[in-house]
C-alpha cells in the first residue's frame, strides 16, 4: 500500500513538473564484455524504430550493465530516481531481469523486456506493469521439442548450462518432446570445451541432440561437434544461430535446425521494411535480438499514441492492446503480458558468403507459455 501511494505521489509530481511532457526511456543493456553483441542489436533495433517514428519528444538514456546484476540494479535505481524515466527496457539476461524488474515495477514504472523472460516473472511474479515483448524463456525450447516429435526423433541427448535459464530450457524441451532421453547433461556456464560431453553423446546411442548454449558457448559446441564426426541431427533454439554468431560458426552450422519466433524471411510488410532499413542504417543483417528491440520500441510508440505513461491505467491498457505492426506478423499478449505467437522452424543456409536462416515450417501456432495460469494480476 505504501509503495503504491508513493508511486502515485511520484506520478503526480512528475505530471505537475513536466508540463512539456517529454517521454523518458531508460535502457540498461549489455554493451561490453562477452554478451555485448546481443545488447547492441537490441539497442540498434530500438533506436531505429524511434528514428522511423519521427517523434522528437522521446529521449532515451542508454547505459551499459556489463552483464552484471549489481550494476544493472544501480543503473535502474539511477534512471528511476535521478533521471526520472517513465519506461525501462533493455535487459538481455534473466538473472539481471530478476534483480531489476520487480523493484522497478514496484516503484510504479513500466518495464518492457526486449529479451529476458524468466519463468518467475511470467507466473507467480507477474506484474501489471511488466510486459515481455520477446518470449517466455521456455517457448523456443518447447518448440524444439515439438519439432523433434514431428521429425520422428525417439531418443534425444539434451544439454544446457547449469543456471536458471538452462534448467528452463531442458524443462521446456521435455514438456513437449514425447521420446526418451538418451542423456541429460548440465554444463558449466561459460564452458568452452565440450569434448567430454561430445564423447558421451557418441556413446549414448541417441538419435538426436538438443542443446541450449547461447553465445560463445554455442559457437564452441557446434565447431567441436562438427569436427568430432558424431553426425547426429542437432536441434536448438535460435540463440546459438542468430545472425551475429553464425559467421563465427561457419560451415559447422549448415543444415542445423533451430526454432525462433522471428526470421528475416518472415513475409509481412513490417518485417520486409525492417530488414531493409536495418541493413541500410547499420550495414549488417538484423538478428532476432534486433527484431525484438524494434518491436519493443514500436509497442511503446503505439501505446504512447493513446496515452502518456503518467496516466498509468490508460497506458497499460494501450500496451495490452499491442496495436502495432510486429515484424513477426501476428502478435498478441496473453493474460500475463507475455506474447502469444507462432514459433517457426528454421534451417541454417548460406546465401552467397553469408550464413543465415530460412524458415522451413511452423513448430507451434499461437503459442502461449505454461506459466500464465499461475499469474494473478
Amino acid at each position: 500500500m505504501i509503495v503504491r501511494t508513493l508511486a502515485m505521489a511520484g506520478a503526480l509530481s512528475l505530471a505537475a513538473a513536466g508540463a512539456q511532457a517529454e517521454i523518458k526511456v531508460g535502457m540498461s543493456t549489455t554493451l561490453s564484455g562477452g554478451g555485448a553483441g546481443l545488447g547492441i542489436d537490441v539497442r540498434d533495433g530500438f533506436m531505429l524504430a524511434l528514428e522511423q517514428s519521427g517523434r522528437d519528444d522521446i529521449s532515451v538514456v542508454i547505459e551499459d550493465d556489463q552483464r552484471k546484476p549489481d550494476i544493472a540494479v544501480q543503473l535502474s535505481d539511477k534512471m528511476i530516481q535521478s533521471e526520472k524515466v517513465d519506461v525501462l527496457t533493455g535487459i538481455i539476461w534473466s538473472n539481471l531481469a530478476m534483480a531489476v524488474v520487480p523493484g522497478a515495477v514496484a516503484q510504479g514504472k513500466f518495464y518492457l523486456s526486449p529479451n529476458a523472460g524468466p519463468s518467475a516473472l511470467a507466473g507467480k511474479g507477474c506484474h501489471p506493469n511488466y510486459f515481455n515483448v520477446a518470449w517466455q524463456n521456455d517457448n523456443l525450447h518447447e518448440a524444439a521439442g515439438a519439432y523433434a516429435n514431428d521429425a520422428g526423433y525417439k531418443n534425444s541427448f539434451i544439454l544446457a548450462p547449469n543456471y536458471p535459464a538452462g534448467v528452463d530450457a531442458l524443462t521446456g524441451y521435455k514438456r513437449f518432446f514425447k521420446g526418451a532421453l538418451a542423456g541429460e547433461v548440465y554444463t558449466q556456464l561459460g564452458q568452452t570445451d565440450y569434448a567430454a560431453e561430445i564423447a558421451q553423446i557418441r556413446a549414448s546411442g541417441a538419435d538426436s541432440v538438443f542443446f541450449f548454449l547461447p553465445g560463445g558457448m554455442g559457437i564452441s559446441f557446434l565447431k567441436q561437434y562438427a569436427d568430432s564426426g558424431v553426425g547426429l541431427p542437432v536441434v536448438g533454439p535460435a540463440f546459438s544461430f542468430d545472425q551475429g554468431i553464425l559467421q563465427a560458426v561457419g560451415d559447422a552450422a549448415l543444415g542445423v535446425v533451430n526454432t525462433s519466433q522471428w526470421s528475416k524471411d518472415i513475409d509481412n510488410p513490417a518485417n520486409v521494411a525492417f530488414v531493409a532499413s536495418f541493413q541500410e542504417k547499420y550495414g549488417r543483417l538484423p538478428s532476432l535480438y534486433a527484431s525484438q528491440g524494434f518491436d519493443t520500441a514500436n509497442l511503446m510508440l503505439s501505446a504512447l499514441k493513446v496515452a502518456e505513461p503518467s496516466d498509468a491505467d490508460a497506458f497499460r491498457a494501450a500496451l495490452e492492446a499491442a496495436d502495432f505492426a510486429s515484424t513477426r506478423g501476428k502478435f498478441a499478449f496473453g493474460p500475463n503480458h507475455h506474447p502469444i505467437q507462432d514459433i517457426y522452424v528454421r534451417e541454417v543456409i548460406k546465401e552467397g558468403d553469408i550464413y543465415t536462416n530460412k524458415i522451413i515450417g511452423v513448430a507451434l501456432k499461437d503459442h502461449a507459455d505454461a506459466y500464465a495460469v499461475e499469474c494473478k494480476m
Binding site: 547449469n162 556413446a203 567441436q224 569436427d227 554468431i245
Partner: protein, 305 residues
C-alpha cells in the same frame, strides 16, 4: 560405460591439460623470474586468437595464422613489458594486480574497438579436420591429437631451453638471485623483456590453437586465466615442471569429474537429481583438488620452500 569412452575422456583430459600448460608455463615463468603477478596473461591469449583469426582469414593459411599469433602476442608482450610492467617490479603484488587488471580492460576494449563485438571465425585447417580412428576403435578428432602433440613438443622445447641454453641459465639464475646476475654483467632489463615476450608467445599460441575449436571473442582469456592460476598454485609457483604436472592434473580432474561424477551419483539417486548434483560438484572438483594439494604441500607440488 565402456572402456572406449573412458579412454576417449582420458585423451580429452590430457588435451585440456596440455592447453592449460601453454598458458601456465608463461605465467609461472614470469612469476618465477620477475616475481610479477600478471593478470593480463589471459588478454595475450586473446591477442593470439584474434591475430590468428585475422591472418588466417586474410591469407587462408592456418599455419600463417599460428605464426601471426606467436608474433603478435610476443610483440604485445614485449611492448607491455617495456611500457608498463617494468615500472612494477619494485612494487608490491597489490600494485601489480591493479595495473595488470587495468591492462585487461584496455586490451579487451581495444580489441573490441578494432575488431567489433561479434565473435570472429577461425577454422580448423582441412588437413587436421575430422575424426581419426585410433587403435581399439576409438574415434578421436585429429585436431585435438594435434594439440596434444604440439603441446608436448612445446613442453620439451621449453625444458631444453631452460636446462641447456645460455638464456635458460640466465633465467634460472634470475630466479635465484636477480641482484647477483646483474652484478655479473647480464642485462636484466633485456632478459626480463625476453622472458615476458616468451610467456606471451606461449599464451598467444594457446589462444590460436584453441580459437579454432572455440569462439574467438573479447573476454575469452579470463576463464582460462583463472584455471592457469589454479594450475601454477597446484604445481608450485615458478616451476615449469610443476606447471606441466599441475596442468595435466587439472585437465584430467576437470574432464573426468564432468564425466564420472554424474554417473557415480546416478547409482544412488534419480537421474535428474544426479545430473544436477554431479554437475555442480564437477565444477568444484579442481578447486577441491587445489585445496587438498595446499593442505599437504602448502607451496604446491614442486614449489621451493
Amino acid at each position: 560405460m565402456s572402456l572406449i569412452l573412458f579412454i576417449e575422456q582420458m585423451l580429452n583430459g590430457v588435451q585440456f591439460g596440455v592447453m592449460l600448460f601453454l598458458m601456465a608455463a608463461g605465467l609461472t615463468l614470469i612469476f618465477g623470474v620477475m616475481g610479477l603477478i600478471n593478470l593480463a596473461h589471459g588478454s595475450l591469449y586473446m591477442v593470439g586468437a584474434f591475430a590468428a583469426s585475422w591472418a588466417a582469414g586474410l591469407t587462408g593459411s592456418f599455419l600463417l595464422g599460428l605464426i601471426a599469433a606467436l608474433t603478435a602476442a610476443a610483440a604485445a608482450g614485449a611492448l607491455i613489458e617495456v611500457a608498463v610492467i617494468r615500472r612494477l617490479y619494485a612494487r608490491g603484488h597489490l600494485d601489480q594486480v591493479l595495473a595488470t587488471f587495468a591492462l585487461i580492460l584496455i586490451l579487451s576494449e581495444g580489441t573490441r574497438w578494432v575488431f567489433g563485438s561479434l565473435p570472429l571465425f577461425l577454422e580448423i585447417p582441412p588437413y587436421l579436420s575430422g575424426p581419426v580412428r585410433l587403435p581399439g576403435g576409438i574415434q578421436y578428432p585429429l585436431y585435438r591429437l594435434a594439440i596434444i602433440v604440439a603441446g608436448v613438443m612445446v613442453a620439451a622445447g621449453l625444458f631444453a631451453l631452460i636446462a641447456r641454453t645460455r638464456i635458460g641459465i640466465q633465467i634460472r639464475a634470475g630466479e635465484a638471485d636477480r641482484e647477483m646476475i646483474g652484478a655479473l654483467g647480464v642485462n636484466i632489463a633485456a632478459l626480463y623483456t625476453v622472458v615476458f615476450a616468451l610467456g606471451a608467445a606461449l599464451a598467444g599460441l594457446a589462444g590460436a590453437l584453441i580459437g579454432a575449436i572455440q569462439s574467438v571473442q573479447v573476454g575469452m582469456g579470463e576463464p582460462v586465466l583463472i584455471l592457469a592460476f589454479v594450475v601454477i598454485v597446484i604445481g608450485g609457483i615458478g616451476s615449469i615442471k610443476g606447471a606441466l604436472v599441475g596442468a595435466l592434473l587439472v585437465g584430467l580432474t576437470d574432464t573426468m569429474g564432468r564425466f564420472l561424477l554424474p554417473v557415480a551419483f546416478a547409482q544412488v539417486m534419480a537421474p535428474a537429481a544426479a545430473t544436477a548434483v554431479g554437475s555442480a560438484l564437477a565444477s568444484m572438483a579442481i578447486y577441491i583438488l587445489m585445496a587438498l594439494v595446499l593442505i599437504f604441500r602448502p607451496r604446491g607440488l614442486y614449489g621451493v620452500a
